[in-house]
C-alpha cells in the first residue's frame, strides 16, 4: 500500500477537502486528479457570478497555481527558429550560391521574412508540443494508481484526491481525516 485515493462527487467537495488538507501537516503532499482543469470552475464561477446581474458572492481566494515553463520555451524556440532560418537563407543567397535573380539585390531580406516566420512558428509549436510531454513526464502508460477501480472515473465525473505515503501509521491518520470528508470512494493505492 503506497497511498490513498479519495474520490469526490463535485469540484466543491474536492475544494473543501483541499482546504482541510492545506491546514493539516499534509500540506503540499496531496495530488488531485480531475476531469477538467482544477481551478477553472472556480474562476469561471467567480466570473459568472460577477457577470450575473445580482452580483453573487465571490468564492474564497486560493493560492495561485505555480506557473509553467512552456510559454517561455515556445517563445525562445520560435525566435531561434526565425533567426536561424533567416541567417540560413541569407547565407545561401549571399554567400554559398549568389545568383542574379531578375536583377534583384542578393540580400533580399523582405523576401526572407515569410519563410523565416513560418519556420519560427514551426519551431515554437514543436517546442510546445514536445516540451509538454517533457515537463509533465508523459507518456507514462502505467502507474500504480491505475489499479484503483474507482480511478476509471477520473477523466469523466469524479474529482480525486491522492495521498502518497508508505508509512502505515500516518496513512491511518490520513484515512481518518479523509473519512471525515465523506468521499464518494476511498481506496488504497496498491504498491
Amino acid at each position: 500500500m503506497t497511498g490513498l485515493l479519495a474520490g469526490f462527487e463535485s469540484p466543491e467537495a474536492l475544494r473543501a477537502a483541499l482546504e482541510r488538507f492545506a491546514q493539516s501537516e499534509w500540506a503540499g503532499t496531496v495530488e488531485t486528479y480531475t476531469p477538467m482543469p482544477p481551478d477553472d470552475y472556480a474562476s469561471e464561477a467567480s466570473a459568472g457570478a460577477a457577470s450575473s446581474a445580482d452580483g453573487g458572492p465571490v468564492p474564497a481566494q486560493r493560492d495561485p497555481a505555480p506557473g509553467s515553463p512552456l510559454p517561455l520555451a515556445m517563445f525562445v524556440a520560435g525566435m531561434l527558429g526565425f533567426v536561424a532560418f533567416f541567417l540560413l537563407m541569407t547565407h545561401a543567397d549571399v554567400q554559398a550560391y549568389p545568383l542574379d535573380i531578375g536583377g534583384r539585390p542578393r540580400f533580399a531580406w523582405p523576401a526572407f521574412v515569410p519563410i523565416a516566420f513560418e519556420l519560427g512558428v514551426l519551431c515554437a509549436m514543436a517546442a510546445g508540443f514536445f516540451g509538454y510531454f517533457l515537463v509533465s513526464r508523459l507518456p507514462r502508460l502505467y502507474e500504480p494508481i491505475d489499479e484503483c477501480a474507482s480511478f476509471r472515473a477520473a477523466m469523466s465525473d469524479r474529482w480525486f484526491l491522492a495521498i502518497r505515503c508508505t508509512d502505515a501509521a500516518r496513512l491511518a491518520d490520513a484515512r481518518s481525516l479523509l473519512r471525515a470528508l465523506e468521499p464518494a470512494t476511498l481506496e488504497e493505492i496498491p504498491a
Binding site: L99, D100, I101, G102, G103, R104, P105
Partner: protein, 980 residues
C-alpha cells in the same frame, strides 16, 4: 551504289525478307497493323514513323538492330569530333535553286543556312530549305523498288529497262514520254537532250502544279519570245504589284525580299520606297505594302488595262479599255476605283524608278500589259532586266500535260517515265490521268516516296534526295550551283540524270561523272573559270548568271485587252483561286511535321487548309470559322471547312493546294483537304453550306480584328517620321526601385526591324531546327500547347474587308529585370553575367509560375513528353541542344549554344568574344533580326539600337528587355491618305 549506304540497303532487303524480323517489328509497333483503317492521329503517326525508322535501320540506338550497326573504323577525312563542317549545295524547288550551306556534325547533315555567295539567297533561306533535314531523315522515304506494288530489285529493273531500250531503239522512241517538273539543271537538260536525240520520236512534257506558264506566255506576248524578268527592287522607288508573288513563290523571292526590305526603313535607307499591291487574296507583299487595293479577279483585268492605258498609252492596252487615254482623273470617271488616278500619277512621276510586277497566277495578258507599262516607264536596266528563260521550255509547245493525257487515253503512250512529279495527285481531276496511266504499258515513277503516282504506276524507283546525289540547278538569275551529295543515300535511290542515263544505255555512269561531264566539257567548261573544286566549295559557278538580253517590245502588240477573258465578268460571280500552300507548296512537303505545324503567315493555321473566304461572304452565308461548305466547280466538288480571312475579296475563294493527300506518308495523310480535283475546270463556281464543322487549329485565338496595342507594336507613317523621327520612342520612363545591370564581358541583345519583317516564317523553322523544338500535333495545338520558341504575331487593323496587317516576331526578350526569375521557387531560370535569361532544364520542376509572370508569354511548357513522342531518328536532333523532358519549361535561349561556341573560339585565340549569329537571324531573308554584343560599340546591333525608331515591348513593365523593335513606318501616298 557503294559504301555504307549500299550495305544498309542490302541489309534491309535481308531484314525485310526475314519473317522473324517482320513479326518482331509488328510486335513492337502494333499500330502498323491498323494502318489502313482509322485515320491517324498524331501519336499514332509518330509511332509509325518510329516503326519505319527501325526498318530503315537508321536509329543507331534501337535494341533490335544495335548489334548490327558497324562503327566507323576509319573516321572520314576532315571530321573533327564536336566541330561542325559546312558544305555548300542548293535547295531546289520547282527547278530553281537557292544556294544553301549544310551544317554537318560528325558527318551528319543537320541544318541549313543560306549561301551568302548565291545571288538568290545572299545568305538567307526560306522555311522549305530549313525543313530539309526532317525531309531528309523522313522514314517514309524508305522504300524499295516496286513492281505493281510488289517488291522488286535492281536486276529485275535492269532487265526491264534493257527490254525497253531495245524496243525504243527499234521504234526511234515512239511512244516514249518523259514527264518532269520545271528543269533548270544543265545536267538533267543535257541528259534529256541526249535522250531526245537518241529517240527522236520521244517527247518531253513538263508540268508544274504551281505553274509559271503565264509568265512565259505573257513575255512571249510582249516580246515575241519567252523571257524571264529579274526585278531590281533595290532601285525601285514605286512598286505596283498585281497579285504579287515576289515574296512568297517567285524564284528569287529571298533576294527580292532582301532588296525590298533594304528600302523600307527610313532611319537607314535614304529614300523609302512605296509599294502598291493590287490583289484578290492577301499575299505577303500585300501585307507589307503601303497601299493594298482589293479587287475581284475579274476587276483586276479592267484596272490593269486602265493603268496600262494611262502609262503606255491606249494602244498598249489594246482596244479601248475603260477610261482609255486614262489620266487618273478620267480613269475615275469610268467606274474605276478612285485610287487609280493617284497611283498612275505616282508611277509616272517615278518614271524609270517605278516597276510594275504581275504575279505568276495572273493570266498572260496581264503580264504583257505589265511589260508594256515597264517599258513605257523606262525602268529597263534600272528596276528590272530581261534574261533568257532559266527554266527550259518543252521543245514543242504542244508537249503539254493535257496533250500527254490525251495520248495516254488514245493508247499512243507506250513508255512513260515520271521524274519527281506526282501527276496522279496534281493533274487536274478532269483530265483523268490515273485512268490514262492504266493504259500505259510501261510506266515508271521516280519519286522520293511511294506517293500517289508511284502507287498507280507499273514501276516505282526511289529517287535520291537532293542531299544524296550529284546534280546542279540554276537560280532565278541563271546562276548555276553544283549540288554535291551531303550523305550516302540513307535508303538507296537514284538521281534523275542517272535514271535517264539508264534509259539511254546499259552503261553505269555514276552521278558525279554525269555532272562532271556537263561542266568540264563545252559549252559549260568555259563557265567553270574558277574551277570545279572552287565551284563546289563556293556553291556557285562564277559568272554563270544569265546576261541581260535586249529584246524590244513588239511594235504592234497583239491587243492584250482583247484576250482579257472577253466580256467583263459580273463582280458578284464567285471564282476560286488555287494557290500553293505557304508551307506545303504543291503538297510535296506534306509529310514534313515541321512544315505541317508551321503557322501559316496570315491565318496562323496549322495542320489544315480550309477555304479562305472574305468576311462579307461569311456574313452573307452565315459561315463561321470551321463551318463546312460544299465548293463545286463545274461538275467537281469537295466538302471543306472555311476560314474567314480579312482582306480577301468577297468575290473569290482561295484554296491552298497540297493538303489532303492519300499517300503522303504517316504524317501528312491525315491533314487537310485536297483541292486538285477542282483545278483546271472552267465551269461555274458555287458554294453552299453543309452540315458539319471541323476544329481548325490556329495559333492565334482571339477573334475578330484586334489592333495591336500601342505598348506592344508601334507604327506610323513616313510623315510622322519626318515630323519626329523618335515618334515611336518610349517616353514613359518609369521610376526604378532598384536597377542592377548584369556585369560581364558581353551584353547580348537583339533588335528586330518591323519594317523588314515580311512574316515569312523562315525564322520560326530555323529556330525549330536549331533548338530541337518538338512538334506537338494538331490536337495539342487545339489545346493551345504549341512549342515554337519564336512566333510571328499577326495583327489586323481597320476595316475587315481591307485591313492593314502587321507582323511582329516575338521571342524571349531576355529582360534585365526578368519577372520570370523572381517567381521560380527553385531558381531554374536565372540571369548570367552576359545578360542572358537562361533556362536550366535540369533544375525545372514545372511550377509554370514563370510563364504566368512573363508579360510577353514567350515561355513554352512540355505538358507531355513531346520530344520523345516525336520519335525522330536520334541522329536528326541537333547534338548541341538539350532535348527537353516532360514537365519542363523552355524558351528562346538566344541560341546560347552558338554563343558558347563563339566564346570557346574567342578563348582559344584569347580575344574578346566576336560575332554570334542566331538561327533566326541567319535564316531571315530581310535581315530584320540583328543579334550581337551591345558592349561592342561597333557591332551592328549596337548601331541598330541607336535607331530613333527603337522601342521596347510593354515598357511600363520595367523589365528592360534586351530584345527591342524598330517601329513600323509606312509610306502611304499623300493623295490617298485614308484611301487604302
Amino acid at each position: 551504289m557503294s559504301g555504307p549506304g549500299g550495305r544498309i540497303w542490302r541489309r534491309l532487303e535481308a531484314a525485310a525478307a526475314d519473317p522473324g524480323f517482320v513479326s518482331r517489328a509488328a510486335r513492337e509497333f502494333p499500330a502498323l497493323s491498323s494502318l489502313p483503317e482509322e485515320p491517324l492521329d498524331r501519336r499514332q503517326a509518330l509511332k509509325l514513323m518510329a516503326a519505319a525508322i527501325v526498318w530503315g535501320g537508321v536509329t543507331g540506338c534501337d535494341s533490335n538492330f544495335g548489334q548490327d550497326l558497324i562503327p566507323a573504323v576509319r573516321v572520314p577525312p576532315n571530321i573533327v569530333p564536336a566541330l561542325p563542317n559546312f558544305y555548300a549545295t542548293a535547295h531546289v524547288l520547282d527547278g530553281f535553286a537557292n544556294g544553301v550551306v549544310v551544317k554537318h556534325s560528325m558527318g551528319r547533315p543537320l541544318q541549313v543556312e543560306g549561301n551568302v555567295r548565291h545571288p538568290s539567297s545572299l545568305g538567307a533561306t526560306d522555311a522549305f530549305a530549313q525543313a530539309l533535314p526532317l525531309d531528309f531523315y523522313d522514314p517514309d522515304r524508305e522504300a524499295e523498288i516496286d513492281r505493281r506494288g510488289r517488291p522488286a530489285d535492281w536486276p529485275t529493273l535492269e532487265g526491264a529497262l534493257a527490254r525497253e531500250r531495245d524496243r525504243l531503239a527499234s521504234g526511234h522512241g515512239a511512244g516514249l514520254r518523259i514527264l518532269t517538273g520545271s528543269v533548270t539543271s544543265p545536267t538533267l537538260l543535257a541528259r534529256l537532250d541526249a535522250l531526245l536525240d537518241q529517240y527522236p520520236e520521244a517527247r518531253w512534257v513538263r508540268w508544274d502544279p504551281i505553274s509559271r506558264g503565264a509568265v512565259a506566255a505573257g513575255a512571249a506576248m510582249a516580246y515575241g519570245r519567252p523571257l524571264d524578268t529579274v526585278a531590281r527592287l533595290e532601285n525601285t522607288d514605286v512598286l505596283l504589284a498585281i497579285d504579287g508573288d515576289l515574296l512568297c513563290t517567285a524564284p528569287g523571292r529571298l533576294r527580292y525580299a532582301r532588296d525590298l526590305a533594304g528600302r523600307r526603313n527610313p532611319s537607314r535607307s535614304a529614300a523609302m520606297s512605296r509599294i502598291y499591291a493590287l490583289e484578290s487574296t492577301p499575299t505577303l507583299l500585300g501585307s507589307v505594302a503601303d497601299h493594298r487595293f482589293i479587287a475581284a479577279p475579274a476587276e483586276i483585268e479592267r484596272i490593269v488595262a486602265a493603268l496600262a492605258a494611262g502609262i503606255a498609252g491606249p494602244e498598249a492596252a489594246g482596244s479601248r479599255p475603260p477610261g482609255s487615254g486614262g489620266s487618273g482623273s478620267r480613269a475615275g470617271a469610268a467606274g474605276l476605283p478612285a485610287w487609280v488616278g493617284p497611283v498612275l500619277a505616282d508611277l509616272r512621276s517615278a518614271r524609270d524608278r517605278a516597276l510594275v510586277h504581275a504575279g505568276a497566277m495572273q493570266p498572260p495578258p496581264i503580264h504583257a500589259l505589265a511589260h508594256a507599262m515597264n517599258e513605257a516607264l523606262g525602268g529597263r536596266g534600272t528596276t528590272f532586266d530581261l534574261i533568257e528563260p532559266v527554266a527550259r521550255l518543252s521543245r514543242e509547245s504542244a508537249d503539254t500535260l493535257p496533250a500527254l493525257v490525251a495520248d495516254m487515253h488514245a493508247g499512243k503512250v507506250d513508255t512513260l517515265l515520271m521524274i519527281d512529279s506526282n501527276p496522279v495527285l496534281t493533274a487536274p481531276g478532269v483530265m483523268g490521268f490515273r485512268a490514262g496511266l492504266e493504259r500505259v504499258r510501261f510506266s515508271l515513277a521516280l519519286a522520293e516516296r511511294r506517293d500517289e503516282t508511284a502507287q498507280a504506276s507499273g514501276w516505282f524507283v526511289p529517287l535520291a534526295h537532293q542531299w544524296e546525289c550529284w546534280s546542279d540547278a540554276r537560280g532565278h538569275d541563271g546562276t548555276a550551283t553544283i549540288l554535291q551529295p551531303q550523305s550516302l543515300p540513307l535508303y538507296g535511290g537514284v538521281s534523275a540524270p542517272e535514271m535517264l542515263q539508264r534509259l539511254s544505255s546499259a552503261a553505269h555512269i555514276p552521278g558525279d561523272e554525269i555532272v562532271r561531264a556537263t561542266w568540264l566539257h563545252p559549252p559549260n567548261a568555259a563557265a567553270m573559270g574558277s574551277g570545279w573544286l572552287a565551284a563546289l566549295a563556293e556553291g556557285v559557278v562564277q559568272g554563270s548568271a544569265r546576261p541581260a538580253v535586249h529584246d524590244r517590245l513588239r511594235e504592234t502588240p497583239r491587243a492584250p485587252a482583247a484576250d482579257l477573258g472577253g466580256a467583263p465578268v459580273a463582280a458578284d460571280t464567285l471564282s476560286v483561286l488555287f494557290r500553293a500552300d505557304p508551307a506545303l507548296w504543291d503538297g510535296r512537303f506534306a509529310n514534313n511535321p515541321w512544315l505541317q505545324e508551321l503557322p501559316r503567315p496570315l491565318t496562323k493555321l496549322v495542320w489544315d487548309n480550309p477555304l479562305l473566304i472574305a468576311p462579307r461572304l461569311a456574313e452573307r452565308m452565315r459561315l463561321e470559322n470551321g463551318d463546312c461548305v460544299r465548293l463545286a466547280v463545274g461538275t467537281a466538288s469537295v466538302i471543306a471547312p472555311v476560314w474567314i480571312l480579312p482582306g480577301q475579296s468577297p468575290s473569290c475563294i482561295t484554296a491552298l493546294l497540297g493538303s489532303g493527300r492519300g499517300a503522303a506518308g504517316a504524317v501528312g495523310d491525315a491533314a487537310g483537304v485536297d483541292y486538285y480535283p477542282l483545278t483546271g475546270i472552267a465551269g461555274p463556281v458555287s458554294v453552299q453550306k453543309v452540315a458539319g464543322r471541323v476544329e481548325l487549329a490556329s495559333t492565334v485565338r482571339h477573334h475578330g480584328l484586334l489592333a495591336p496595342p500601342d505598348e506592344v507594336l508601334r507604327h506610323g507613317t513616313l510623315r510622322d517620321f519626318h515630323a519626329d523621327p523618335r515618334f515611336a520612342a518610349d517616353r514613359s520612363a518609369a521610376p526604378e526601385l532598384y536597377r542592377t545591370v548584369p556585369p560581364g564581358p558581353a551584353k547580348w541583345a537583339m533588335s528586330i526591324d518591323l519594317n523588314a519583317c515580311i512574316g515569312c516564317n523562315a525564322c520560326v523553322l530555323a529556330c525549330q531546327a536549331e533548338n530541337n523544338v518538338p512538334v506537338v500535333g494538331k490536337r495539342e495545338v487545339l489545346r493551345e500547347r504549341e512549342m515554337h520558341w519564336i512566333r510571328v504575331d499577326r495583327y489586323f487593323e481597320g476595316d475587315a474587308d481591307a485591313p492593314t496587317s502587321f507582323f511582329q516576331p516575338v521571342l524571349c526578350m531576355h529582360c534585365e529585370q526578368a519577372p520570370c526569375e523572381n517567381v521560380c521557387p527553385v531558381g531554374a531560370t536565372v540571369h548570367d553575367s552576359e545578360g542572358l535569361n537562361v533556362m536550366v532544364y535540369n533544375r525545372c520542376v514545372g511550377t509554370r509560375f514563370c510563364s504566368n509572370n512573363c508579360p510577353y508569354k514567350v515561355r513554352r511548357f512540355n505538358f507531355f513528353a513531346y520530344a520523345h513522342e516525336q520519335k525522330r531518328p536520334p541522329e536528326s536532333w541537333n547534338p548541341d541542344v538539350t532535348v527537353r523532358a516532360r514537365g519542363v519549361m523552355e524558351k528562346c535561349s538566344y541560341c546560347i549554344q552558338r554563343i558558347a561556341a563563339a566564346r570557346i573560339d574567342a578563348d582559344r585565340e584569347s580575344r574578346p568574344v566576336g560575332e554570334v549569329v542566331t538561327a533566326c537571324q541567319a535564316a531571315c531573308p530581310t535581315r530584320a533580326i540583328t543579334f550581337g554584343n551591345l558592349a561592342d560599340g561597333a557591332s551592328e546591333v549596337a548601331a541598330r539600337k541607336q535607331s530613333p525608331l527603337t522601342f521596347a515591348m510593354l515598357p511600363a513593365q520595367n523589365t528592360h528587355p534586351r530584345t527591342t523593335y524598330e517601329a513600323l513606318v509606312r509610306n502611304p501616298n499623300p493623295a490617298l491618305e485614308g484611301g487604302s
